[in-house]
């Protein structure tokens, strides 16, 4: 691979201070992303997908603290000054959220919201602009995301549009400003399957045409399989398996990945597995060794004591498990 590494996360730890004590949510999360790559981040509710995104943008809640290195184009996000950070957010990274209803302001027209994003972006880049330029860029972005009649949408309020259209507007905001990295947090979850397919297809096309990189967080294994190049499987704030999408789905090693795949209802109609016993790990007092160990049917004393490291099993396919070769 000769493509440049865009983002590198090394040993990212995130803690939340709450009434009951200190929650150790992300535990040594490491991954990297090259330019134009689509990376999937999969796991169940509460496994730390959104926390990872918030840590990448440094928009964690005030009771959180993050440790570790987030290298974006070689610069450490965690050590940037406020102005540098703001500039990065305005020109390089952007995020789209699960619920397009609440990520747009209901009292401003769509056009004003897109324009303000573009204005901030152009200012940060130090480019001279006129209001007319901004409108043209916005209209072009709206038609890039295949919205019918951009002029009308520009003058609409968010409540006049459907969920799929609002999600397209959120994507248009990052297209208009030529971001390098798009963090998509469950972009299709609140939408119907047909609309979800349209949105994911759109994202795929944008990656091809604009060369931006996407990190897609979702709990749907089917979605990542169809839209990403590489996948990280997360459980309890840790990455348990990471590998190229094709080989990971064809040959999953980690017991959690296997159990999760077995739970997904299949079109072949072979029935549904019993589900994974036990409950999601408590971050207040996580197990010392492997965090999946209390729910794992293969565990032994090793798993109890030491935390497994991500080890290479196949081409570019890493697994964090003591028993994965079984």
């Amino acid at each position: 691979m000769n493509k440049e590494v865009l983002l590198e996360v090394k040993d990212l730890n995130v803690y939340y201070r709450v009434y009951e004590g200190l929650l150790h949510v992300l535990n040594d999360v490491s991954f990297s992303l090259v330019e134009g790559e689509r990376l999937g981040l999969v796991g169940e509710t509460g496994c730390g997908k959104t926390t990872t995104f918030r840590a990448l943008l440094r928009v964690l809640d005030s009771n959180a603290s993050s440790r570790g290195d987030i290298l974006y184009k070689g610069r450490n996000v965690n050590k940037m000054s406020q102005t540098e950070l703001l500039n990065t957010r305005r020109t390089e990274m952007s995020m789209i959220f699960q619920d397009p209803t609440s990520s747009l302001n209901p009292v401003f027209k769509v056009g004003e919201q897109i324009s303000s994003v573009i204005r901030a972006n152009l200012q940060a880049k130090g480019i001279n602009y006129s209001e007319n330029d901004i409108k043209n860029i916005a209209l072009k972005a709206l038609s890039d995301v295949l919205l019918p009649d951009p002029e009308r949408i520009f003058e609409s309020y968010p409540f006049q549009l459907s969920g799929g259209m609002r999600q397209r507007i959120c994507i248009a905001m990052s297209v208009a400003t030529e971001r390098k990295l798009l963090l998509a947090d469950e972009p299709g979850t609140s939408l119907d399957v047909t609309i979800q397919a349209q949105i994911l297809g759109l994202l795929n096309n944008l990656v091809k045409t604009t060369g931006m990189s996407v990190i897609l967080a979702t709990h749907s294994l089917g979605v990542v399989r169809e839209t990403t190049d590489r996948v990280c499987i997360m459980y309890g704030g840790e990455i348990v398996e990471i590998g190229p999408t094709r080989s990971l789905f064809a040959n999953p090693f980690h017991p959690y990945t296997r159990a999760l795949l077995a739970c997904v209802p299949k079109l072949t109609g072979e029935g549904i597995a019993e589900g994974i016993p036990g409950e999601m790990v408590s971050y207040l007092n996580p197990p010392k060794g492997c965090r999946f160990q209390p729910r794992c049917s293969f565990c032994n004393e090793d798993c109890n004591r030491t935390k497994p490291k991500l080890t290479l099993y196949e081409d570019d396919h890493y697994v964090a498990c003591h028993k994965a070769d079984l």
């Binding site: 169940e44 609309i195 349209q198 999760l260 209802p265 072949t268 109609g269 589900g275």
Partner: protein, 319 residues
């Protein structure tokens, strides 16, 4: 063939909207559910599938059409129904957080239906809240807890226990697992299947997840803008989908294995969005999104046709 547990004939439910116009949520739905059968009712949001369930259970009064329970007309509101009917048709809602009373213990919640429907139960049916909890696979120590101390999946199991407390014939499941993670969903679905086998329950399973229906339902019906487009036996439905909308839905499902990929119909690219049920397009309501649209589709609404044994489809493509 025996009498269906539930039969809907041309059921309509319109809600008044601005200036004499109506939201046609359900616009002529006919279907039958037999004893021990699961009928999957699938559709996008806004297609009217939940309204069907709410009308059947008596939360809404139908605008037109009939609801027959064992050949007996029950097209009235819940409060006018007999106690027996209320106990025989029960519903489980999507969000267990809002369907369980946060101020009552699980025992109190489960005790109410047991008390109200005392006479309708037969021997061998769980008669106490604790027994009901064990019936759905929860420990009886949960009885003295509040719903807030339970996880999402456990709450949904309590809601299911509440629904089966009266020994019902028909349970309407309104997206019971769409708020849950897949590993939890698997548990809840397996419990539901156990209960169905044990008590010969019939389910009307409302969902937008077609792959789930492949594993759970005996028959599947697709709804679009208040009307049913296609009904068939599950196996046939997935092997030979006929309606273009069914094909579009099937081809949009994200799948996890290569075998599944081959089962999907040839890619019909999804386009457009479901129109508003206030202005249902004339002719076939799907014609705006259909890739095979003809002039006929724009003018004439197709009728339901039985193409093969118990495989009904509503489309002009099939004569």
């Amino acid at each position: 063939m025996d009498i269906p547990i539930l039969k809907l004939s041309m059921l309509k439910k319109y809600f008044p909207y601005k200036k004499g116009s109506f939201v046609k949520a359900v616009d002529g739905v006919s279907l039958e559910i037999f004893r021990g059968e699961t009928l999957g009712l699938v559709g996008e949001s806004g297609s009217g599938k939940s309204t069907v369930a709410y009308t059947v259970v008596g939360m809404y009064e139908p605008t037109n059409g009939q609801i027959l329970y064992n050949d007996q007309d029950i097209s009235s509101l819940y409060k006018f129904r007999s106690n027996e009917i209320k106990g025989k048709i029960r519903i489980v809602f999507q969000d267990p957080n809002s369907s369980l009373n946060p101020r009552r213990t699980i025992r109190q919640i489960l005790f109410t239906p047991l008390k109200l429907h005392k006479n309708d139960r037969y021997k061998g049916f769980p008669a106490s809240p604790e027994a009901l909890l064990e019936e759905v696979g929860l420990s009886s120590i949960y009885a003295y807890r509040f719903s807030r101390s339970l996880s999402g999946g456990e709450r949904q199991l309590v809601a299911i226990a509440h629904a089966i407390a009266t020994n019902p014939d028909l349970v309407l499941l309104d997206e019971p697992t769409s708020a849950l993670d897949v590993s939890i969903q698997a548990k809840v679905i397996n419990r539901l299947m156990d209960l169905q086998n044990r008590y010969k329950l019939s389910y009307l399973f409302i969902t937008h997840d077609l792959s789930l229906m492949r594993n759970v339902a005996h028959r599947v019906a697709i709804m679009y803008l208040g009307k049913i487009c296609e009904i068939a036996q599950t196996k046939e439905f997935f092997e030979k989908p006929l309606h273009p909308y069914t094909q579009m839905l099937l081809s949009s499902i994200p799948v996890v294995t290569d075998e599944e990929e081959q089962l999907k119909p040839k890619k019909i690219t999804s386009r457009g969005e479901i129109p508003s049920p206030v202005n249902i397009p004339p002719g076939c309501s799907f014609h705006l999104r259909c890739p095979f649209v003809t002039d006929q589709c724009k003018k004439l609404d197709p009728d339901m046709k039985e193409l093969e044994a118990r495989h009904y489809v509503r489309c002009h493509l099939y004569k």
